[in-house]
């Protein structure tokens, strides 16, 4: 659908993204602190490829997605879409770019307007992409629904009449209605049954090869990510901890946190490390994080040096970055 080559090979590049949310209290809503949702996130997505963003609940994944879509404004950092800096664009300047990036959500029950039929929801996107003629709209609507495996008869039904997996398909159809180049999938399968998960993931894969889509695939399940993604970024408390091609990450994980995540997958050779404190206090982006490594409270390799110095990325292989000085020095976990 897209002619490659003439366009930039990197569809999305994110540099040093940062977002703090203010905590307000009292009669005049004074700011009493900050939630450090995203501290420092950088990555690149190649056209037609998939980047996995993995991390546990609350580490800031959805915030990254919202920052990229400009549903939120970043405090610092840069977002380059197709080599164009969109960080400073206002709503009006952003409008023509909006249809290039779409999002699919985690909760299939909240992602569709309960007061609009499926057809109406998708037709909004069609109007945005300039299809105003009724019969053309209906043709395209039918095609989109078929593309995601839904019967065209679904179009005059309301969302509450569908199952979770079906709603997720409808959400995908809506995202496709504006013919985007990049789709951000924010945990699109974690609310679904395992059998349905496979269907949706295969659908996403098929669509990617048909339409040359690029994906930012957000998940807390490394298994799914390993199946779908070309590159993986592991995120913890607003930082990218490890950033590597998928094979490299699974074959030679370096960061202690990646090990923790891998050990949570059943049937792998990565055994649960007794020292890894998986049940450490709930991951929250604390108000006053310790200086040094953000993973230090749960890290079995934790040393004095981790407490003070800011930890920088270390290069462990081609395209393989790790934010941990110790595994970098030792050459392995």
């Amino acid at each position: 659908m897209n002619e490659m080559g003439s366009r930039n090979a990197t569809i999305l590049q994110v540099d040093n993204l940062k977002k703090y949310f203010p905590i307000r209290r009292g009669f005049f809503q004074k700011i009493t602190g900050w939630v450090r949702a995203v501290e420092n996130v950088s990555f690149k997505i190649k056209r037609g490829k998939t980047l996995g963003l993995v991390g546990e609940s609350g580490c800031g994944k959805t915030t990254v997605a919202r920052l990229i879509l400009k549903l939120l404004d970043a405090d610092e950092g840069q977002i380059l879409f197709d080599a164009q800096d969109i960080t400073q664009l206002d709503e009006k300047e952003m409008k023509p770019l909006r249809k290039e990036m779409q999002i699919i959500f985690q909760d299939p029950y909240g992602s569709l307007n309960p007061r609009m039929t499926v057809g109406q929801s998708i037709a909004e996107g069609l109007k945005i992409s300039g299809i105003h003629n009724r019969s053309k709209q209906n043709q395209r609507l039918e095609k989109l629904l078929k593309m995601v495996g839904m019967s065209p008869a679904s179009s005059d039904r309301f969302p509450h009449e569908f199952s979770g997996g079906q709603r997720q398909r409808i959400g995908i159809a809506r995202a496709l209605s504006v013919e985007p180049a990049l789709i951000i999938c924010d945990e699109p399968v974690s609310a679904l049954d395992v059998s349905i998960q496979a269907q949706i993931i295969n659908l996403l894969k098929d669509l990617q090869s048909q339409l040359e889509l690029s994906y930012l695939f957000i998940s807390h399940d490394l298994n799914v990510v390993g199946y779908l993604c070309d590159k993986v970024a592991v995120m913890y408390k607003g930082h990218i901890m490890e950033y590597a091609p998928a094979d490299a990450l699974f074959d030679h994980p370096f960061h202690p946190y990646t090990h923790l995540l891998l050990s949570a997958i059943p049937d792998t050779e990565h055994k649960i490390d007794a020292e890894l404190n998986a049940t450490a206090d709930e991951v929250s982006n604390t108000l006053n994080p310790p200086s040094g490594c953000s993973f230090q409270e749960r890290c079995p390799l934790n040393e004095e040096r981790c407490k003070h110095n800011p930890i920088e990325f270390e290069k462990m292989g081609p395209d393989h970055l790790v934010r941990c000085w110790k595994v970098a020095r030792n050459g392995s976990y």
Binding site: K95, R98, F105, N113, I128, S151
Partner: protein, 389 residues
């Protein structure tokens, strides 16, 4: 190749399993289970038509049922009493041939007066709540959708100039008033000039001051709501009504202007939660306009609680009007309202109890049925309960 693919897909295309139901059918299916709410709705509809009929039957110079006709010969007759035909003039004989609810101390037909009063109650209820709901949706919507925007120093200055200037003009201080208005226009002009400078990375001290965020819009609106809620609303209304000429329209407007706070809070809360919903984020990601997002995606999903609070609000407004009329602050006589029938009747509570009981029970039934209906609506419109049934 292409064809076989689509054919193969066609076979396993997904369709919803549930039979197709319209929203109304779905609503009715759930609502039917709540017997009290059904009773409430029946009374709601009855009252509605009764009030409209009452308006038609009691208005004009020579109405079918005259609520103002004084027949001192026939005073304080009990309900269902026949008129005293020998002592009445031909034009004084009630058209129905019977005093259904008796007569009051001036011999006026209580049934006709109740009918006239029901129209007052209906209009006061609907107009007052209409005003309250409009204000509530507007302010609540602004607080909920634009709430975390801050008012900048420049905007604050302009607003202050305009408000004080307008007040001075109203107070007949033409010169200083106009000067302040011009100052306000100047503030807007400066803002327009600074627009470019504000977007630049490095800003001058003046620009930074002009664009300094003061309080958020949400704070302004919600603190105003809090302040309004501090006044006991009945006494607030009493005070205002005492200052204004007594008329039914003033009563409606004053009740409306003092009862929008609940709706504002509802709508704000609803908008705050809707704004975080994924389908609104999806609409924003598609690039839909704010107008379309607010009116196509958010308002339709926020009307349910507003509808509920409006239904209950009508009952409250009717009660407030009755209370005002009872205290003699309401609709001026000779116009009958349920409140002033009640208040006139209390002097004869032992001799003519129907004068208190008829309007009293009417108020009770209407208020109760509106509340039951409203609560039934709330149960049905609550999407969480909906999923369960």
């Amino acid at each position: 190749m292409q064809n076989t693919e689509t054919d193969a897909q066609d076979i396993q295309l997904d369709a919803p399993l549930a039979p197709k139901r319209t929203r109304l059918e779905e609503f009715w299916r759930l609502f039917r289970k709540n017997k009290l709410a059904i009773a409430g709705m029946v009374f709601f509809i009855l009252f509605f038509f009764l009030a409209i009929a009452g308006f038609g039957l009691t208005r004009g110079d020579n109405p079918l049922l005259d609520p103002a006709m004084v027949r001192l010969q026939d005073k304080l007759r009990p309900p269902l009493a026949k008129p005293n035909l020998e002592r009445l003039q031909a034009n004084e004989i009630p058209r129905l041939g019977v005093y259904i609810f008796g007569t009051d101390d001036l011999g006026r037909d209580v049934f006709a007066r109740m009918l006239q009063g029901s129209w007052v109650s209906l209009t006061v209820g609907f107009v007052a709540v209409g005003i309250a709901v409009l204000i509530g949706i507007f302010l609540g919507g602004i607080a909920g959708y634009y709430g975390n925007r801050h008012i900048r120093v420049g905007q604050l200055l302009a607003a202050a100039f305009f408000i004080v200037g307008a007040l001075l003009l109203v107070g007949k201080l033409i010169w200083s008033g106009s000067a302040l208005l011009i100052g306000g226009a100047g503030c807007i002009f400066i803002s327009i000039l600074m627009k470019k400078a504000a977007k630049a990375k490095t800003k001058s001290a003046g620009t930074r001051f002009w664009y300094f965020n003061t309080i958020s819009i949400d704070t302004v609106v919600m603190r105003f709501v809090d302040i309004m809620l501090c006044f006991p609303s009945f006494f607030l209304i009493l005070t205002v009504v005492a200052l204004l000429p007594a008329s039914i329209y003033n009563i409606m407007i004053v009740i409306g202007l003092t009862s929008w706070m609940g709706t504002t809070r509802f709508v704000r809360a609803e908008f705050l939660s809707l704004r975080e919903q994924d389908f609104v984020a999806a609409a924003r990601a598609l690039g839909l306009s704010n107008f379309r997002i607010i009116f196509r995606h958010m308002v339709p999903n926020a009307v349910a609680p507003v509808l509920v609070s409006a239904t209950i609000g009508i009952a409250t407004a009717i009660l407030t009007e009755a209370g005002l009329s009872f205290l003699g602050f309401g609709v001026p006589p000779p116009h009958a309202t349920w409140g002033n029938i009640l208040s006139d009747g209390q002097r004869f509570i032992f001799d003519a109890p129907w004068l208190t009981f008829v309007p009293g029970i009417a108020i009770l039934i209407v208020v109760l049925s509106f509340n039951l209906f409203g609560e039934g609506l709330r149960d049905v419109l609550n999407p969480k309960l909906r999923e369960r049934n």
